[in-house]
Symmetry: C3
Subunit: 471 residues, 3 copies
């Protein structure tokens, strides 16, 4: 039986009528603010080339690890969803078949944020008014596919329709940022920035680390096999990124470990990891040292520093061998911040020139470690609830567990952190609704007044994110 698709205007607001009324008032004042997306993984070529997206499956399913991980967990083969194999072996190529498989299993996403994001895209972007299911799969496919062929659904048109004030992508130091250059020189008004993500030249465990150093040498002309040359090459690339509009760096380390070694030891460590396979201990120590070096460079050049630690990458050997990285099997681990960040914070924690935004996948650290740290150190701010916790319950836990110790003003607004361009407004909308819901509860429990809640809602949506990311 086909069911209607409805985006209720009060969705995600608390049920209590009085609280809901306050939430609605707060939300009405921020819902139309421009989107500031300071951290994400959209493809800059979309905005440089402005080509039409290929088809519904390639746009909405095959690249979205939130989607195919759930289908895979319930027994579906990734090949049947068109996920490319490392060995180039055969996978499903008919996008309509892929779409149908997804549609028939859409009930699996009940209660997940993917469901909220997708429904928003279907209703708001494509005007669909029946619920996705096996029965409606073809109707959906036809409507979406037809729309994608029109100019109004090209990347730049959607960017404008979405009222995006600024969108930041993430690139490696080896990237030439040609797409960003194209965008900047195109005359198009859309503001698409890059962020400096140097993991592949900082992490000795990264695939091809030593090859990456050679590429870094080629790009910069520096002697990257010397410690000074290596650091200088990184400074060069940071400067190049700044020139192209970057205001931030991003670091995706397995832990939050930092180190602050004497120069001689750091140099010797670099020699070891740059000339041979690193031991696990050396690799960790080097990553930790490099976070402190990056902080030192941020103090010099002003780039805001983001740290995203705590994911055990590519947990399934089976999936990694067959499909490669980023295939929905990165699993969070317990993450220490108190001892891990101390070397960096001892050096720069009191330095107001540094702005270090820390994220976590380990929610136990919110009230125990991160809020107390952010409620003390001038250099430290807390990123929003991230990845698995970029969800209504995750956002609620973040505010409930962080606010009483760190306040609102040591947080930095929302990050969508996504490559799923179409759902960017849906994600920001969830954050706005959840923040307003949290604030509404504070108001009806007489913990803050409504005029204050309005100020905070605006700050969380717009002011804090622009300030924190220097946008």
């Amino acid at each position: 039986m086909t069911q209607p698709l409805r985006l209720h205007p009060d969705r995600l607001f608390p049920a209590d009528a009085g609280t809901r009324a306050v939430a609605r008032r707060l939300y009405d004042a921020v819902k139309d603010l421009p989107i500031i997306s300071p951290h994400g993984h959209t493809d800059p070529s979309w905005f440089a080339l402005n080509q039409a997206f290929a088809n519904p499956a390639e746009l909405l399913i095959t690249p979205d690890h939130y989607v195919f991980r759930m289908l895979y967990s319930q027994g579906m083969a990734m090949e049947d969803l068109g996920v490319p194999r490392v060995d180039g072996g055969p996978v499903e190529t008919d996008p309509r078949k892929i779409w149908r498989r997804f549609a028939e299993n859409y009930h699996l996403f009940r209660g997940t944020p993917s469901r909220l994001w997708h429904d928003w895209v279907y209703a708001e972007v494509f005007g669909l008014d029946v619920r996705l299911s096996g029965e409606t799969a073809d109707h959906y496919y036809d409507v979406i596919d037809a729309a994608l062929k029109t100019d109004g659904f090209r990347p730049r048109a959607l960017f404008e329709r979405y009222n995006i004030e600024v969108l930041t992508t993430t690139e490696s130091p080896l990237d030439t940022l040609d797409h960003h250059k194209t965008i900047a020189s195109s005359g198009w008004k859309g503001r698409v920035l890059t962020a400096f993500r140097p993991d592949l030249v900082l992490d000795p465990d990264y695939e091809g680390f030593r090859d990456n150093l050679h590429s870094l040498a080629d790009l910069t002309g520096r002697d990257v096999m010397s410690w000074d040359g290596y650091l200088q090459a990184l400074r060069d690339r940071r400067a190049f990124f700044i020139e192209r509009g970057a205001t931030s760096t991003d670091h995706g380390h397995p832990t939050a470990f930092t180190a602050d070694l004497p120069r001689g030891e750091a140099e010797a460590l670099f020699r070891r990891v740059s000339t041979a396979s690193a031991t696990a201990a050396d690799a960790e120590l080097f990553r930790g040292q490099m976070l402190t070096e990056m902080a030192a460079m941020s103090v010099e050049d002003g780039l805001v520093m983001q740290l995203h630690p705590g994911s055990f990458r590519n947990h399934s050997a089976t999936v990694f061998d067959r499909f490669g990285r980023d295939k929905g099997c990165d699993i969070p681990t317990p993450t220490d911040y108190v001892r891990a960040l101390k070397p960096l914070l001892d050096r720069f924690g009191a330095d107001r020139r540094l702005s270090l935004i820390v994220f976590t996948l380990d929610e136990t650290s919110y009230s125990r470690e991160l809020a107390p740290l952010a409620g003390h150190y001038p250099a430290l701010k807390l990123g929003p609830s991230w990845w698995f916790h970029d969800s209504p319950e995750g956002m609620r836990r973040f505010r409930e567990q962080v606010t009483e110790t760190a306040g609102f003003y040591n947080t930095v607004g929302f990050n969508d952190d996504t490559r799923a361009f179409l759902s960017i407004p849906a994600r920001h909308d969830v954050a706005r609704r959840m923040d307003c819901s949290f604030l509404a509860r504070l108001v009806v429990e007489h913990r803050i007044e409504e005029d204050e809640a309005h100020e905070v809602a605006h700050a969380l949506t717009y002011g804090l994110v622009k300030a924190a990311y220097k946008l």
Copy 2:
């Protein structure tokens, strides 16, 4: 002052009127579904012999560690509750005195699930309409004791009255399953299955481990002192359990650690632990290896595998020495799943023939580890909130922290996990009410539609549990 005992029809539903109305509608549609109890510790002799239960204290207090632990924590001696001593020394034998001591302290259970379960039994099973207290203790005792002497309160009659479709007990591989045979050949329609719980022949730290191996040899005729013979003996006993109706195994390890050693190393390890006292490291490694061996056998014979890790057993030396195992002093510990399960998952995680249901006593693992793992691996499902967390707040946290990443369909419905037969319907009723309450919130917050919530409520109550346990 004697107070009335009331089971309110809306108990456990959220206070908000709109949400409560939805919860009530969802609950009305599932409240009368048959009970599927796929994991528990009732005594099969009850159903084989169908003898009357002895008296209120022996039925409801002395064997229930939830009850006597609380009384003990407030200074009551276990002897005064009739808990038998290891040395056979004197303990209270008058059941009425034991009952009075419990009744006088019933206020200690305010806010605990034991209170909910007991009140349900008193009101629904025995028709009591005043609250238990010191004043009403004798009235209670008389009413319950008289009822237990009637045929309507024998185990089989209650089983039928409780609308139990299937009930699974738990036995060791050394059990001859005679009671299950008696039940099966008795002509009685009640479906009572067994589950294969091999800890005492897998865990070198288990009391009498090496004696248990000899018993295993006696039962199977295998040379259990050889690695192959030992594995074959386990296969034999699994086959025997399957013949008697088993569909699952259960493993109560101190951690979730797994290993996947080369055959030669596994064989040498077995030789060490089977011939002398195991070192702590060898014991842990062997338990880990055996989990992977059990998974391998499950792939062959189809038994669903349950893992219940993370309890520090018999924490109080005083209590263990005086009263033995399972006396209310098992304490949860932090439990890692990400690294611990990797060896097993690398081998079988992508194998759809395996069904591994994992439980936790460490709630921090819900959102950080277990939901991400279950939301990826086809072989992995999440058991419900367990033991200390088999409670309204525990269930709420489980759904709130698991659903957004793993969805509903990577969970397996409710386990009562109890030896307290009389309260089995009360426990399932709490789960149904809490699931419907959670779903009602999703509905009124417009995160799913009510027709979907009905489908999910049915699945959580009935469909998922039958599928997950192959019942």
Copy 3:
């Protein structure tokens, strides 16, 4: 724009009208009960000398690390708030300027308990009716400063106005307790007790540990360089504290680790740590041993024992070097209780003469470790949510995560733990409101009856705290 300051009578109660009505009824019955403050850090000289407080900044800002940490985290210099420097260097001395800086940044405290406490003080104690802000800063300063010069705002007058039945301060064993003697012999009726806090003579890592031992020798005339003499000196000081009214000890260790060494090993360990710098391992072992020795003494002399573990003290090297201890940069760490407390509990856990009250900064231990331990061991009780978690959300999590396993009666009511004397009633009021809110939810969800909730609310506010602390 100046906004009104309002303390809403329903503040902190749940929004749902039915639940709020129950909460209000429960609260009305306990709101005027006397304050029992069994653990805190007020200065006994206030009550001995009864001098007027100096000025608004010195009373409410400069000594309050909750306040200046937040301002510092947002870039304000501690010097500008008058926080004294270790080197005696210049800091702001004009209290009005300090007050203005705080007032201009009062929005930073939105959503924090500091905001609730301060607003209560402003409205209830000083009769202010406009919100604190940059605009109203001078008005506030003038009103508060004028009040402080009047007799009604001296410490003893406020103590009486606050309806404090008993207030406990915390002193080191080297303290002569002269102020307590003065209070006792003054004829004033106020009951101000002390608590025995021996960290500085138990912890080899404490600044001046060996000097402190010498002071202990001077005070007691014991040979504290022998193990027996040292223990006897501690017994002497405990007896002295008991004579001055103490009913409890308090222990602020970095972990909850305990040990129970054979006498010879303990003696040798003491010799090592008392005669030379202790290794980290020896220091930890000695602290652990001394907790067990303290428990043994408590069994003898009846002092209730409090354990406050899990804080990484003075995390910021910068701040510690410049401003010293207790400057808002103590950060919680993951804290184990299960293995850590076992040696002590194996010896005294079943001994009803011991009363050990345990606190945590690691909320993950509530449901996993502390509630199961307290729900078993007769000697163990749980202290309320502490420090960063002394807040509405922190209290709610405590009750939600502890009650189902430990019940209400293994908890001990509220501790304000504060040196901020003026806000003591505000802190107790938050606890009363949050406990009544939690109980109201249990009532409207029909988990307990309202008559029971009244009994529990009274116990949490008054009965349990008096019993637990033997007051």
